[in-house]
């Protein structure tokens, strides 16, 4: 079951969970509502046909233009987009899930946006979500051990955000 038929089935089982789609893209993707993410993932892993038993990659894309002049011309809304690449070992098929989040929770700078963790569905998500938290600043609620993974624990800021500024000093080490 591929493409539109698969999507119809998903919408029948979990109505309202899919908020957007692009089946013509290079890697066809569907957009899922953040609060329905775990339900969708659980269904994809356990009941769908084919079953997506492997999570390959979790990453975040920061859609934000820090330059005021260029920002006036961009066509997209500022947001933080999570991208989940799933893989089915049996059917050798892939699926891309996207979740759109506000860049800051309640538009308060410094308050990280929240999304439910899928570490309980695929164990791969454990480290991958830690990396997204570390690099892009997303809080995964329900994650068993959410702390920085690549940067030191006392690092300030989220380096893969477009408005990130390199700290001038880190324990006496000069930055920039």
């Amino acid at each position: 079951m591929r493409g539109p038929a698969f999507l119809e089935k998903l919408e029948a089982v979990l109505p309202g969970a899919v908020t957007g789609r692009n089946l013509e893209a290079l890697d066809p993707w569907i957009e899922v509502a953040p609060d329905r993410l775990v339900d969708v993932c659980r269904w994809l892993k356990e009941s769908s046909d084919p079953r997506f038993d492997a999570l390959e990659c979790v990453t975040a894309v920061d859609w934000f233009e820090p330059d005021q002049k260029k920002a006036a011309k961009v066509t997209w809304q500022p947001r933080l987009e999570l991208v989940y690449h799933l893989w089915s070992t049996a059917a050798r098929a892939s699926l891309v899930l996207k979740v759109s989040l506000p860049r800051w929770k309640d538009d308060t700078p410094g308050e990280l946006p929240e999304v439910p963790s899928v570490a309980g569905v695929w164990r791969t998500a454990d480290w991958h979500e830690r990396e997204v938290y570390d690099m892009s600043g997303v809080t995964f609620t329900g994650h068993p051990d959410l702390r920085r993974i690549l940067c030191p624990e006392d690092w300030v800021g989220y380096p893969l955000r477009k408005d990130y500024e390199m700290p001038l000093d880190y324990h006496g080490i000069r930055g920039r």
Binding site: A25, L26, D27, D53, A54, L55, E56, C57, T59, V61, D62, V83, H85, T89, R92, S94, V96, W122, R123, T124, D126, W127, H128, M135, R148, I149, L150, C151, P152, P159, L160
Partner: protein, 402 residues
């Protein structure tokens, strides 16, 4: 009476907890393959918990990629898995070509197979030699490096570099092979083939090696998939998956017409197993020995693929084709592609907003996911088995930390 014992100054009671101890292994421990720090919670000789700490080699590769054009980022992919830099170049080049819907010439395709499979042999040789070191035997390392050196000589002649090649690039390769190169490559293969039996004698069938690896760190297929393991770690558990055969057509098209069998145990047998030593009785599918053995089989398989590639490459008439311009504009959109690197499935994801510099670059590292399973594998093993388990995963920190 009890009062008398309490007051007796000759009887001393130690109130020391002797049951558990935290042991720091690394980040400079030689058997951690780079700068990996493992915190072991030990109960005597038994390890009850392992926590890997990574990030010591973090060099902001993804952030740098957001400020360079795809071809300019090629040297940074070299420095991820620096033991298989050719395969890293290839993974990134193919991901960009997927987004641009660009196809390389037939000649470049066969040359890529040739180079990538030689890179796989070189990487597995390091994996094998270093694994011997982890388990306390020094000689296999020297044997492995003797042969790897010859591959590096071939690479040096082709592109000028011995470690960070940047040879395979977006839209093709930076240069064609120099005259006489194929002859040298064939001479190397002829010399290398009988040497593999030496490796099997040194390690695969070595009684001490088998004792140290067979039945240690057993990874079940379900757990391997759940943790996103890939490459020889996944195939060592008996999961029949190889991106060269099962991946996206952008990648599998490169291997169109090539004959190879995925190195995985099926019905208790490895493909073409008559030429290899028998699986030891103590070995369990998914243990350290099997992960090691799959790599050894892949060396033979890659040799076969190199031979096929030499034939096809020399049959190709016409030019190799030029790589894309350094500042070629990317179409808006995103593309994700996984390729089968020696250490596992390396995924590259790039998002473009229509300019020549990608908006977002992401490298999904195979070693990253392979390493995340250590905590699970090391629970309940002996301290001495920790290097055996970590070594069998064949990780490279440059790729994990990026």
């Amino acid at each position: 009476m009890a009062q008398a014992i309490d007051d007796d100054p000759r009887i001393i009671e130690f109130d020391v907890r002797t049951d558990e101890m935290l042991v720091n292994m690394g980040p400079q421990h030689p058997s951690t393959h780079g700068v990996l720090r493992l915190v072991l919670r030990t109960d005597g000789e038994i390890v009850s918990e392992v926590e890997p700490h990574i990030g010591y080699l973090h060099r902001c590769a993804e952030k740098i990629g957001e400020n360079l054009t795809p071809r300019q980022w090629i040297p940074y992919t070299d420095r991820m898995d620096y033991l298989a830099a050719m395969n890293m170049n290839l993974g990134w080049a193919l991901a960009v070509e997927k987004l641009m819907k660009h196809e390389v010439s037939e000649k470049a395709r066969h040359l890529r197979v040739l180079i990538a499979e030689l890179g796989r042999i070189a990487s597995h040789l390091v994996g094998m030699g270093a694994y011997g070191l982890d388990l306390g035997t020094f000689s296999p390392f020297l044997y492995a490096f003797r042969e790897r050196e010859k591959i590096l000589d071939l690479f040096e002649e082709a592109c000028g570099a011995r470690l960070t090649y940047s040879y395979i690039t977006v839209g093709g390769l930076t240069a064609d092979l120099p005259p006489g190169w194929l002859g040298k490559c064939e001479a190397f293969l002829a010399q290398f083939e009988p040497v593999i039996q030496e490796y099997h004698a040194l390690l695969t069938t070595n009684a001490i090696f088998v004792k140290r690896t067979a039945g240690i760190g057993v990874l079940s297929p379900a757990m391997a998939i759940d943790y996103g393991c890939s490459g020889p770690v996944l195939r060592g558990s008996g999961v029949d998956q190889d991106m060269r055969r099962d991946g996206e057509s952008v990648y599998t098209a490169m291997y169109d017409g090539y004959a190879f069998e995925v190195a995985v145990q099926k019905d208790g047998r490895y493909p073409r197993d008559h030429t290899y030593p028998a699986v030891p009785a103590d070995a369990v599918l998914g243990d350290c020995w099997h992960r090691f053995f799959v790599r050894m089989l892949e060396v033979v398989q890659s040799m076969d693929l190199v031979r096929q590639a030499i034939d096809r490459y020399s049959a190709c008439k016409g030019p190799l084709g030029e790589p894309l311009k350094l500042t070629e504009k990317l179409p808006a959109g995103d593309a994700y592609l996984e390729t089968e690197c020696p250490k596992g499935q390396m995924g590259f994801y790039l998002v473009s907003d229509g300019t020549s510099i990608p908006w977002r670059v992401r490298a999904r590292s195979s070693s990253f996911s392979n390493l995340s399973v250590t905590a699970e594998l090391c629970r309940g093993c002996l301290i001495a088995d920790v290097p055996a388990i970590v070594g069998s995963l064949d990780i490279v920190m440059g790729e994990i930390d990026r």
